[in-house]
Amino acid sequence: MKQLSTRAKWAWALITIFVLAYALFPIVSIFATSFKLPSQLNLGLFWPKTWTFVNYEEILAPGGSAQTLFLSSLRNSIGICLIATGIAVVLATLAAYAIARLDFPGKRLVLLTALGVSIFPVISIVTPLFNLWRNIGLYDTWLGLIIPYLSLTLPISIWTLAAFFRQIPWELEQAAQVDGATTWQAFRKAIVPLAAPGVFTTALIAFFIAWNDFVYGISLTSTDRARPVPAALAFFTGASQFEEPTGSISAAAIIVTIPVVILVLLFQRQIVSGLTQGAVKG
């Protein structure tokens, strides 16, 4: 790689700053808004005139108007998304292994169906699902959300994990089998450690897809028994009929976004680490 000239370096720096500003501006804006007093929201300033924690208290501290709403929805979201991700990853691992290693009739059909399901518009399914859930009693329950979330997370998990498994050379399992392992042992001891980065990535992607869902969340729930965070944010109310709850919503958004960012930063290293280098020649 040849060294960039000083002019080129300046140009790249400017472009980078511009792109970062464009991408991060909304997030910084929300961050700033979450520390503003509700009465000062319309002052037209970017940064708060007075920094305050009152919005956070509203949603987190006992006695805050939105606290029960927010905390229960946070609990719902975390629980439902973790369970949906867990089930999706386990099922996708088994499916992806079969798809990557074996040749069975209907393999292409399975993959195409997965692709079709993931690009199908969610909004068209929601109304019939609402009726069905109400009839069988899954409306406003955790299970009632976990099942549709599986339809969101499974296809992408299968595709991602299948790509990962294809990268792991078949000889490793064959060597394990010759060394005396059963198929299950070969899978568990030789393949799973190598697939770990793939499984982490897939779990992360699946979690985000489930976490960000709005349509199912708002249509298939009615109380804080099962309402997830994106849907709950729509129900925040301000102090009076005329005051927008912008401050509380911004604070909630910040609380919900930051852990996700931290997760990505943590697991990024694992994904990039390139565990299989050196196992197989060529």
């Binding site: 064959q174 010759v178 020649k281």
Partner: protein, 418 residues
């Protein structure tokens, strides 16, 4: 330690393609057998059928007297070294070698595992690398770790699938001797697959030559070199490869492109009424006539020929002499060339001469050869019409005696060392 017997093994794939067409082979206990042949001849498939990674369509496979056709790889107690090592990248060298032992839970205590791994590491000189990961090792070291993993199990037989093809030439030579030493020391039955005929000649007690799924000949390296049973084996063994020339029969003389050779009555009888045959002469059986003693010259045939290109290698000189081939045999020879993975650019005679020769490219060389060393092949079937069954048998018997003696010596050395 066990004998492996293959009886009429056939492998047919789902689309009807026959990869192995009825191969029968008897491998004695402690023998080092090499499966050799050009790419696509079915040698790797055969090896994988022995280890159990491929199903056997028809035929019987017995290891140590038991029929193992339907046994899973783990129940056959074999050890395999793959072409691209297949080391577990997330484990250290120690754990890689210990992996087969750890799979047999409860069979070995931790000290026993450590002792076995360290013994294997000592045999292959890997003691300093036990705590490193495969990603940090060189190609030769990785290959030795793969071998260590194979020997630690005390399997019934070792199977090698082209283990040296990923190494550079010098390392290949060193690893070859390592493998030979290891096999002699442990005395385990070994089946080794390669496409390199040098490895086949140097490592094997016996070599099985395969072509398009069929076994051409199984014999000691010397047997294959001196008494090849057909055109393919003759062309495959030997480097540089044997020269094939068209020979026209006129009564008791054979006309070659550059000389007329008298043929014995025996040979004339064997040739029957054929007009044209393929004659094979190895490059090393030619000599520079100018450097020979007078007495020797009369015992062979001398001729002059123009040398097109010469290559001096220090220890010898290769001279290339182009000649016109007969169209009757051209098709057979082209097909043979293709089977031997050749490029078939032009017909030329390769002659190996001693390095003192004054022959250079552009010269008219004065060359000599002994017609007794000539081999005559049937142009249609490729069969070696000068194949001497008696001589072949003697060579094989000598080879078997040599092998047993060498094995005993190695075992005695091992006992003395222990």
């Amino acid at each position: 330690m066990a004998a492996i017997t293959l009886k009429d093994i056939v492998k047919q794939y789902g689309d009807g393609f026959l990869a192995v067409k009825g191969v029968s082979l008897d491998i004695a206990d402690g023998e080092f057998v090499i499966l050799v042949g050009p790419s696509g001849c079915g040698k790797s498939t055969l090896l994988r059928m022995i280890v159990g990674l491929e199903d056997i369509t028809a035929g019987e496979l017995t290891i140590g007297g038991e029929r193992v056709n339907d046994k899973a790889p783990r129940d056959r107690k074999l050890a395999m070294v793959f072409q691209n090592y297949a080391l577990y990248p997330h484990l250290t060298v120690f754990e890689n070698i210990a992996f087969p032992l750890r799979l047999q839970k409860g069979q070995f205590t931790e000290e026993q595992v450590t002792a076995k791994v360290e013994f294997a590491a000592k045999t292959l000189e890997l003691q300093d690398h036990l705590q490193r990961k495969p990603a940090n090792l060189s190609g030769g070291q990785r290959q030795r770790v793969a071998m260590g993993r194979a020997i630690v199990r005390e399997a019934q037989a070792f199977l090698f699938d082209e283990p040296l093809s990923n190494l550079d030439a010098k390392l290949r030579g060193q690893m070859r001797t390592e493998i030979a030493r290891m096999q002699r020391r442990l005395g385990t039955t070994t089946v080794y697959v390669t496409h390199d005929q040098t490895e086949a000649m140097t490592l094997g007690d016996r070599v099985a030559v395969l072509r398009k799924g069929e076994l051409q000949q199984v014999a000691s390296p010397r047997g294959l070199y001196e008494q090849p049973v057909n055109l393919f084996v003759a062309g495959f063994i030997g480097s540089p490869p044997m020269n094939f020339l068209p020979g026209e029969i006129n009564g008791s003389t054979m006309r070659l492109p550059f000389a007329d050779v008298p043929i014995s009555a025996d040979l004339a009888r064997k040739l029957g009424g054929k007009n044209i045959v393929i004659v094979g002469i190895r490059p090393e059986h030619f000599e520079d006539a100018n450097l020979l003693e007078e007495s020797k010259v009369s015992s062979g045939v001398t001729f002059t020929a123009p040398v097109d290109v010469s290559e001096w290698l220090g220890s010898e000189l290769y001279a290339y002499i182009p000649f016109e081939t007969n169209p009757d045999v051209a098709t057979t020879l082209e097909e043979l060339d293709r089977d031997l993975d050749g490029e078939g650019l032009r017909t030329q005679l390769i002659v190996t001469l001693g390095s003192e020769t004054k022959v250079r490219d552009g010269d008219e060389a004065n060359l000599w050869f002994d017609p007794a060393r000539m081999m005559v092949f049937d142009p249609e079937t490729g069969e070696n019409l000068t194949w001497d069954a008696e001589a072949a048998k003697t060579v094989d018997e000598e080879n078997e005696a040599d092998r047993k003696a060498s094995l005993e010596r190695a075992q005695a050395r091992e006992k003395a060392r222990a």
